[in-house]
Amino acid sequence: MAVASMSHGAIAEHEGADQLYVETRALRLQGFLLFLVSDCVLFSSFIFAYLYMRNSGQGWPPPGISRLDVSLGALNSVVLFGSGATMHYALENWKHNNFGRYAFFMLATILLGSAFLSGQAVEYTHLIFVEHVTWAGSGIFGASFFTLTGMHGFHVTCGVIYLTILFLQSVHGVYTKDKYFGLTAGTLYWHFVDVIWVVLFSIFYLI
C-alpha cells in the first residue's frame, strides 16, 4: 500500500473545508459542553458536602461566627451577572461583525470579572482579618465557604485569563465572522461560572 499524492481541486477543497469545519465544530462543542457538565458535578459534590455538614444539627451559622454580609454579596453578584450580560453582547456583536462594539463589551466583561474578584478579595480580607474566620480554623463554616467560593474564584480567575487570551486572539485575526468557536466556548464558560455563582450566593448568603 502506498500513500500517494496530496488532494484534489480547489473548489472541492473549499467545500470540503467548510463541511469539515462544521463537523469538527460539532465535536468541539459537544466536548466542551461535557466538560462543563463534569465541572458542574465537581461543584455539586462540594455543595452536597456543605449542605450535609450544615444540616448536621449545630445551627447555622455555628456559634461565634456571624452571618455573611448579604449586601456585599448582592453587589458582587450583580457585578458578575452584569459581566454575563456584557459577554452575551460581545458575542452578539462579533456575530454581526461589529468589531468595535464587540471589543467594548469584551473588555467590559473582563473588567467586571476582575471587579468581582476584587470584591471577593474584600470579602475574604474582612472575614479573615476582621472576623477571624479562616479556612482551617473555623470548623465547617470556614471549610465549606472558603473551599466552595475559592474553587469558584479560581474558575473566575481562569475565565478572566481565558477571555483575555481570546480577546488578544480576536485582535490578531484568529477568528472570522463565521468561524469563532473559541469565542463561543469562552461565552459558555463565562455563563457557567455565573450560574454556579447564582447557586453559591443563594446557599451561602441567603439561606
Binding site: R67, S71, A74, V78
Partner: protein
C-alpha cells in the same frame, strides 16, 4: 460626607439587578426561536442569569436573605 457602605452596596445591587434582569430577559426573548444545541444552552444560561439577577435584586431590598436581627 458620611456614606453608609451597606446602603450603597444594596442600592447598586438593586439597580444593577434590575438592569441585568431586563437585559438578559430581552436577550432571551430576541433569541427565543434559534435552533441548535449551543443556542439552547445559551438560552438556558441567559434564563438562569436573569433569575440570578432577580435573586440579587431581592437580596438588595431585603426580601431574601437572613439579615441579622437588630439588637
Amino acid at each position: 460626607m458620611h456614606i453608609d457602605v451597606p446602603i450603597l452596596e444594596k442600592t447598586v445591587a438593586v439597580v444593577g439587578g434590575i438592569i441585568v434582569a431586563l437585559v438578559s430577559a430581552k436577550a432571551l426573548k430576541d433569541d427565543w426561536t434559534s435552533v441548535g444545541i449551543d443556542n439552547g444552552v445559551f438560552k438556558l444560561m441567559l434564563g438562569l442569569l436573569c433569575l440570578g439577577a432577580v435573586i440579587a435584586l431581592l437580596a438588595g431590598v431585603g426580601v431574601l436573605g437572613n439579615f441579622p436581627k437588630a439588637a
